[in-house]
């Protein structure tokens, strides 16, 4: 019951904005071909539900796979980078490349390498979402308290043991922060990949746009947002379960 009550404050602005938009389009000066009335978005969603939910499933799978890949690879790369100052200086700038490269520019390259279809979409989601994982994980690993590292050294723990028993668990809150950011980016990356690769919600948006079906565009975008929210919620759940007993953020 308490959970339900905590959602209500978040729902109120949503209801107000939706009602205002409906009125503005129906009776006011907002043109329906620019901003669709919420009722027409709903109608589009119901009319095209098979297509939309099929697309949602496709995009979800691609985004999730891309996200999992960037989680695993991102953490691995961060562990590698944490091993020495020299390695960081040599390779970290290339990791930053993932952050700064505009996905729109390299998406056509991805198509050339991976072809039209899911692989390109996953690759796009991966490229867009990996950097926050690397950055946050590295930061978490490197900011382990020196005293704790001393403690482990005192009792003869090897670098590997220190990594798994100390630095990793200590970095977990930051890793989860990185994953939260990465989850939303993975959805965006998947959608962009789908503009180029031609499937899922990205394709629905692209095709509907050229058909001038703004209502359908909004319906697809809405579903994409829901997907992003769902992934975010999943990370929060994981964070809650793992950090619940010991970290300030979940107290």
């Amino acid at each position: 019951m308490k959970r339900l009550r905590s959602i209500i404050p978040a729902l109120i602005p949503l209801l107000v904005v939706t009602a205002a938009a409906e009125l503005a389009v129906r009776y006011g000066s907002v043109k329906s071909y620019l901003v669709p009335a919420p009722s027409s978005v709903l109608r589009a969603m119901i009319e095209s539900r098979a297509e939309l939910f099929g697309a949602l499933l496709t995009t979800s799978v691609s985004a999730l796979v891309g996200f999992l890949l960037s989680t695993v690879a991102g953490i691995a790369i961060a562990v590698f980078l944490s091993s020495s100052r020299a390695i960081q200086r040599a390779f970290y700038p290339y990791a930053v490349f993932f952050q700064t490269v505009p996905i729109i520019a390299i998406a056509p390259l991805l198509v050339i390498w991976f072809g039209y279809g899911t692989r390109t979409v996953v690759a796009s989601a991966f490229v867009v979402s990996i950097f926050p994982v690397i950055a946050n994980t590295l930061s978490g690993i490197l900011s382990t308290e020196p005293a704790l590292r001393d403690l482990f050294r005192l009792y003869g723990a090897s670098t590997l043991v220190t990594l798994f028993k100390l630095r990793f668990p200590a970095a977990l809150p930051q890793i989860l922060t990185g994953l939260r950011v990465a989850s939303g980016l993975a959805v965006i990356g998947a959608i962009v990949g789908e503009f180029i690769g031609g499937q899922g919600l990205g394709s629905v948006v692209d095709v509907a746009r050229t058909q001038q079906r703004v209502d359908k565009v909004f319906a697809a975008v809405l579903l994409a947002s829901v997907l992003g929210l769902a992934l975010f919620g999943l990370i929060n759940l994981v964070s809650n379960v793992t950090l619940r007993r010991w970290h300030a953020s979940e107290q």
């Binding site: 043109k31 056509p108 050339i112 039209y116 503009f195 690769g197 095709v207 001038q212």
Partner: protein, 311 residues
């Protein structure tokens, strides 16, 4: 001499005499990067007609028709089918000048495939890149069926996928991408979409009904300037091409000149020689509306005479 000069200045004088208010800066939004398809717009003598026009170059997906509807541009370049759909949704946009009298859309394939017609393309396995949401694509789907081919999104003006794969076919403007591909060594064959019976006016100058009502004189002046611009561009595209090349470095300079030449038969036809460049007929609009209605794109079909104005 006197008379010609007077005639040329007359519109400007009329304008100045007539209005107390000038429209300020008039924005003309293009739906692609500056290239020969917009030559006449860049060559047009706006100032001589007392107009201050700013041309806004576009790119992939520029929503020119929505921009005109929303008022973020006073004029825009659209294609006729877009306009009909927009009108059916309540967007009061009106066509003034049709640059391409015939539809320059086409699908380019590798000549080595020895395909005889557009119909053949959809009978053999291969990849066809087109914008699936566009009316012409859905007309092709209805007519030929897409079951045998793999449909992928059109990569815009990028022909790298086309060059890399012999079985790759791509939507294009007949006188544009194929020429670029030829320059890169590809053996290209093009099938016009109009072969399938789909022939809307393209690269159409459009404005809002509101602008026409409030500022009929300026609208007329723009139409006149554009007409003169296209005449000048057809007669000698070189100076305007220079200007556009600087704005759009993505098209090779040699290709610019070729494209300008290749597009001429689409612009100057017997019809335009009779009725002037950019002129439109009710019958063409009627036929287009009927086709779009048949495809299911229109909630309510607009009246053909509402779609365009001869100025």
């Amino acid at each position: 001499m006197h008379r010609r000069t007077f005639l040329r200045i007359a519109p400007a004088i009329a304008l100045l005499a007539n209005c107390g208010k000038s429209p300020g800066k008039i924005r003309l939004a293009l739906n692609w990067k500056p290239d020969p398809q917009f030559g006449g717009f860049y060559a047009a003598p706006y100032q001589a007609h007392g107009l201050d026009v700013e041309i806004l170059p576009g790119g992939a997906g520029t929503p020119t028709i929505q921009m005109v509807g929303a008022g973020s541009a006073e004029f825009g370049v659209v294609s006729a089918d877009e306009l009909v759909v927009a009108r059916s949704q309540g967007n009061d946009v009106v066509a003034l000048f049709a640059v391409f009298q015939n539809n320059p859309q086409g699908i380019m394939v590798h000549a080595s495939r020895k395909l005889a017609s557009l119909a053949d393309l959809f009978k053999v396995p291969g990849t066809v890149a087109l914008q699936r949401g566009l009316p012409y694509a859905r007309l092709l789907e209805k007519k030929y069926g897409f079951e045998k081919v793999k449909i992928v999104p059109s990569p815009g003006g990028d022909i790298s996928a086309f060059l890399a794969d012999k079985n790759f076919a791509q939507q294009c403007f007949i006188m544009s991408e194929p020429l670029t591909a030829k320059h890169q060594g590809a053996d290209v064959q093009v099938f016009p979409v109009s072969d399938a019976g789909y022939n809307p006016y393209t690269t159409v100058l459009t404005t809002s009904g509101e602008f026409l009502r409030n500022d009929p004189d300026h609208a007329k002046a723009i139409a006149a300037a554009v007409r003169e611009g296209w005449r000048a561009y057809l007669d000698d595209p070189k100076p305007t091409n220079q200007r556009m090349k600087q704005l759009n470095p993505s098209m090779a300079p040699a290709v610019f000149a070729e494209v300008a030449e290749a597009q001429t038969p689409f612009i100057e036809t017997d019809e335009t020689r009779r009725n002037g460049l950019g002129s439109m007929t009710k019958e063409r609009w009627e036929a287009l509306i009927a086709q779009l209605k048949d495809l299911g794109d229109l909630k309510t079909a607009p009246a053909p005479e509402d779609c365009y104005r001869a100025l």
